[in-house]
Symmetry: C2
Subunit: 185 residues, 2 copies
DNA sequence: CTGGAAACGGAGCAGGCGTTCCGCTGTGGG
DNA sequence: CCCACAGCGGAACGCCTGCTCCGTTTCCAG
């Protein structure tokens, strides 16, 4: 019913997405289209047949990553310990940044790219709000700390991904600790 | 004895530096050379005669900004109140980032550019160390916080400059508060 | 005032990017 | 098995960048 496209086309599309995912994660979003095509073992035309514009390819790959983050926050809602839930989200987010160079650009990139994720971001924000409200009710947050503070902390962690790789991991870890110390009662 | 160059050459050099300073601050370091030349009211060749390569122009402009930061930390050494001195450095640094888009790239940019400031960075680090040691002696720092934590916090603040201008100011302010709360006893 | 060196401006070059065009290839329904 | 056509690869286009070349203008010492 669905197979309008040939089997080899479908397989090539998958290889392109896989190559883009890997390339973006390790080298950042500015990897040239030619390079993605080369890694996928296809010609540039094939790449453009599946993704008519660079932005669409980027959006497709980033959608997966952004979803990962939302899923992670949702999962934290199941944790009965409010502080462990919230601090786990911050720490795991930091961990993700260390291993995936593309993710931070989904959150920081100039409108064009990140505008596509408004819905995902809202879902992420809502789940995070719940975590913050619970933590606040449990009295583990410093007075005056709200969800925007936590989001600002996450953004700060994400931004650090631009540092030279040699130091970014260490700095991200320190900032994550700093953010947690900054929101805790 | 020194005027080996003509008066108009000297004046053009000044205009180029001024134009670059302004352009970098408002639009970021990736402003094209043509655009800097246009703003300065000179041809590109004139620009290249004074700065043989783009990197040299960038380094010249950034050197001023980086110096500003070092001077500011040195001045804080005169403050008798250790917490006010340290927190003032963090806040003023945040303020600078909000108003100058170029500064963060001096600290974050890939080696090529930022490597030129190793000496300045060491001086900055030494002065900051003194502030941290004093604050620690005064007992206003949380246990385990060291100068690297403060530096990591400053880097986090600097990195945020890449956010869309509309939100970056607010987020930078929140993160600065978060960092201060995170290091305070 | 004048001439030659210093300085100038902008067209032009090389190279990298995203994207398109088009002649060929190989898949899969009949 | 076969051939129409979906799908392919890579050369080529247009644009933008950093940087250079060279004929022309401007300064200023004598």
């Amino acid at each position: 019913m669905s197979q309008i496209q040939r089997a080899d086309a479908r397989s090539n599309r998958d290889r392109v997405v896989a190559a883009a995912r890997e390339a973006f994660a390790s080298a950042g979003l500015e990897v040239p289209m030619r390079e993605v095509a080369r890694r996928a073992g296809v010609g540039v035309a094939t790449l453009y047949r599946h993704f008519p514009t660079r932005t669409e390819l980027v959006a497709t790959v980033l959608a997966e990553r952004v979803d990962d983050c939302t899923v992670q926050v949702r999962r934290a809602l199941d944790d009965p310990d409010p502080w462990r839930a919230l601090s786990g989200v911050v720490r795991e987010f930091a961990e993700r940044q260390i291993h995936d160079r593309a993710l931070n650009e989904a959150l920081l990139g100039p409108g064009e790219v990140s505008a596509a994720f408004q819905r995902e971001r809202r879902e992420h924000a809502q789940a995070l709000n719940v975590l913050v409200v619970r933590a606040r009710a449990a009295g583990v947050l410093r007075d005056g700390v709200d969800a925007d503070d936590v989001r600002a902390g996450l953004l700060a962690i994400a931004s650090l991904r631009r540092l030279p790789a040699a130091t970014s991991a260490r700095v991200i870890g320190r900032v994550a600790d700093l953010v947690l110390a900054g929101i805790r009662a």
